[in-house]
Amino acid sequence: MKRAVLCCCLWMGLCFLSVPLPAQTPTAARPSPASSAPAPDPAKDVNDKLAQLDERVSAAQSAGDNAWMLTSAALVLMMTGPGLALFYGGLVRRKNTLAIMMQSFAMMGWITVLWGTVGYGLAFGGNGPFLGDLAHAFLRGVGTAPNADYSSTIPQLTFMVYQLMFAVITPALITGATAERMKFSGTMLFMTLWFFVVYVPLAHMVWGKGGLLNASLGGKFPCLDFAGGTVVHISSGVSALVCALYLGKRVGFPKQPMPPHSLVLSFIGACLLWVGWFGFNAGSALAAGGLASSAFVATHFGAATAAVGWSAAEWLKNGKASALGAISGAVAGLVAITPAAGFVRPMPAMVIGLVAGVGCYLMVTKVKALFGYDDALDAFGVHGAGGTIGALLTGVFAQSVVNPIFGDGKPVGGRDGHWGQVGNQLVGVLFAWGLALVGTIVILKITDLITGFRVSEEHEVEGLDVTQHGEEAYYLES
């Protein structure tokens, strides 16, 4: 009697959980135990049912995680196109609008090819300190089964495609510094080399198994970088500065006024970046649980206070808060919170945002004017500087209660008492700076020799849309 009741209860439980769930592991559907002949061993029967229940619960968890991760991947792609394309597009002069957009879009196409063929494995395969391996070349072995090194609840295909979107946007950021004077052919060659020389090794070092700077997978200098403050922003920002210095100033800079041709486009782009960043940061939790919520909130709060901070600084300095300042501030905050998002509580996130907002404002207005370099769209001022600020403050504010990344109960950052973490952050920052600096200089030389890098003066004055792409962004007479 008791056995029958137990069987009924479990059977009802299994029916309740019987929503169609795509299993990542290719197990055939097992017939329900209750429909087969009564087993002679009641204990084994119960164990079988519990095992099935376990599987169903796992599948449910995976469904939630995978849904969020695929959404996040889409959000991050949106950050490049049209987020960054519009943001940068509006900031350049009309004659160069398509060129800057094309550079972002080209990354969407080309980096996908590089990542899908060899990049993924070089970044996330193997367990070396500096680089992965080619075991996953052409995505061999990358299917619906999870890769337990990185996330045990989502298909590895999801993880791969999510990381791909990061690899797409990072080089696109650099185009902000070289805007309005860089050849398209040079761009493509440079970005290809940069992908292999700077991005992939840095991604492996910080996020890959065995990476030198990996905080959770056995790195010698555990550097906390939740979503890519070092890997994405410092690397691209510093490279941007090197490129800007190498390329030289635009014709007419700084005397000739070169105001943004459409702040409306930039505004839309910035808002798309903000929304997309939830995928960038909260998606880096690689699951749909509490850590994703934490990172989501921290991201939003960081963006908000940074926008307020930049606007306030501008209001005090110029007597007016500009729209360009507000959106630039928000982006700066998002950059700074990127390494910290899954490690800090909401109030520290606000502090990080505020510091980044004011700090990047000063970088872009005072420091740039002081040194006189032409970082056309402030890729270094916002990403390089914001990323550095964020990386260091992550060491200060990271807390175990948010993310016990070093083990349960072990202190994470300064707020837990582990001030040495700031030192580790500094190591990571210096590594990223160093690799970006040296790597970019070498690549620039090579690119200049093969395709050339800067357009001729006539082409620059005529505009890149016409000279590089044979098009006009706005055909006003038609």
Binding site: P254, P257, P259, P260, N318, K320, S322, L324, G325, S328, Y361, V364, T365, K366, K368, A369, D378
Partner: protein, 112 residues
């Protein structure tokens, strides 16, 4: 025949146009232009860089008039385009040698 060119404030344009229609003027060419006389521009700031914008938007009216209408039109424009502040604009008059209607090749004042 006289050519009348008037550079006026964009905000006054609708009033000027209505007043001219009442006086019997139906033909004119209107262009959006930028320029300045003694009126100062303004400063714009983009990420800490200041730009002085001293080319201000104006409306340019052009029309060719029979001699007998010139004074009426000038008075009308002066009355409706004036705000009393710097930046109100200017009127220029010049002589026209010939006017031809393309549709039927009429010449002279009847082509106006």
């Amino acid at each position: 025949m006289m050519k009348l060119e008037a550079i006026i404030q964009p905000s006054r344009f609708e009033s000027v146009k209505d007043a001219l229609r009442e006086v019997g003027i139906e033909g004119m060419t209107v262009t959006e232009v930028r320029g300045h006389g003694r009126q100062k521009g303004h400063t714009e700031v983009y990420r800490g860089r200041e730009y002085t914008v001293d080319l201000l938007p104006k409306i340019k009216l052009e029309m060719v008039l029979p001699d007998k209408l010139v004074n009426t039109v000038v008075d009308t424009i002066l009355k409706t385009a004036k705000t009393g502040k710097i930046g109100d604009g200017k009127i220029f008059l010049s002589r026209v040698d010939e006017a031809i209607r393309i549709r039927n090749e009429e010449r002279g004042e009847s082509a106006l």
